[in-house]
Symmetry: C2
Subunit: 259 residues, 2 copies
Amino acid sequence: VVDVAETRPSPRLSGPFRPSFADGAAALAPLLRRLAAFAELTPAETGHVQGLLARRRRWRPGAVLLAEGAAGAQFLLSGWACSQRVLSDGRRQIFDLVLAGEGFGWSPFAEIPAQQAVVALTSVETIDAGPLLAAAGEGSQSGVWRGLRALAGEAEARRLDHMIRLGRLTASERVAHFILEMQRRTGAADARSFPLPLTQETMADVLGLSVVHLNRVLRQLRADRLVELRRGMALVSDARALAAAAFLPAVGDRAHAFR
Amino acid sequence: VVDVAETRPSPRLSGPFRPSFADGAAALAPLLRRLAAFAELTPAETGHVQGLLARRRRWRPGAVLLAEGAAGAQFLLSGWACSQRVLSDGRRQIFDLVLAGEGFGWSPFAEIPAQQAVVALTSVETIDAGPLLAAAGEGSQSGVWRGLRALAGEAEARRLDHMIRLGRLTASERVAHFILEMQRRTGAADARSFPLPLTQETMADVLGLSVVHLNRVLRQLRADRLVELRRGMALVSDARALAAAAFLPAVGDRAHAFR
DNA sequence: CGGTTATTTGAAATACGTCAATTCAAGTGG
DNA sequence: CCACTTGAATTGACGTATTTCAAATAACCG
């Protein structure tokens, strides 16, 4: 398998999104923020993370950060990536997106490497997470470990939502639901606009739709003044209506759960 | 929320499947087999598992074994269950099936309880896995722990397959793919027939299809002499053709993964 | 500016869902 | 053993959501 990342011209990604490639410690900010969201990190732990900077790598859009079946824990310092699988006839399903500060290639179940490739959607920077995991592995109550488990738990929860979307939501519900999920994930829960540097083809492969149909759904949402995607940014005009369109209220354990 | 399990008449499940409610140690056989598949268990560990028998419970079809958002690790000793979520308008998506010997309500990410309910599809027996997890928790290299991690890893892999099915496979591909997965899981990889005590409504909710359409797909598969579902049993007539219909060859990391 | 990749639109085909009824299989109580 | 009941499976007719194919336009890049 040839690494297309190095030879291909970088796909155009509409919008103002340009990874900043911040220098030094600043590049770690997203990662540290996420790790510390669940448990305070000790100075020693923070130091450990900073030690990873030596292993920083840059990749162009389309680069395969992790081949399917391969192991190798990494963190995404900047940019956007996705985990996916491609069928032999070209159909592609994207399982999840990877945002700056999140990890991949790591699973609490080391026994079985995940059958999913991780691919860069924009220019990205990664660092090897191996040393950190090794160091944190001893005390499984360490702050780093708790942060990682929490991140993995969030990913797990997202996967369930994703299955609902793919299996039981209509196209427009899927789109609305996905945009709201991205709004939350980018930390723009209250902002009217946030970065979403994905091509429609990528979004279609997330949502299990054809590009053409996705485009029509987006047009409709725009016409209804719910949300607008332009040049890599999402503009949420009517968050309440968008949530309604997403059929958000997933109700648990109802009495007629089984019938 | 009322526990419908105790009041409802048990739904009829076509087919010869009747959980046997084996007595004593025999009931643990499926569980022990799965745990030991990845790492030999010490006599002490086996003893621990046998100690769980005291906490055995029986449930009728439809019983909610685990409410959405609740925690509480359990093993399924016999019968079939599923993890699912139900939307407020009644749409249901089944995330995974739970077979005898498998666990649920447990996750390596204790931080976040999974937003999925677990519901009995047949009469089932469960045992509380809490004591075992507590005991095994100390040495994370213990055989029990490795077995559990492997089971969780398998579930993880199934979820990815499931997302592919829901997002990118056609209805008949989904059905064929699902039946083959069940053939493997029931340990009947080579057998022409194996138990599959699911109503078409359940299967439809697994595969994200309507019951009516699922029924038509099954008719077609039967007409093509690929597979037949009758009275809770699946009869695979042509495994090779069925695999072809399932579009099984999921190819990893292809060069055009991104374009 | 030319070349390339994304987005957008239209028209036609198809896959899938809904509604409504019928048949079938398996208890259950007399 | 037999109506009777109930849930599941099956079928037909029809509507709609979504895909496919093909082409045009628009955005971006060097």
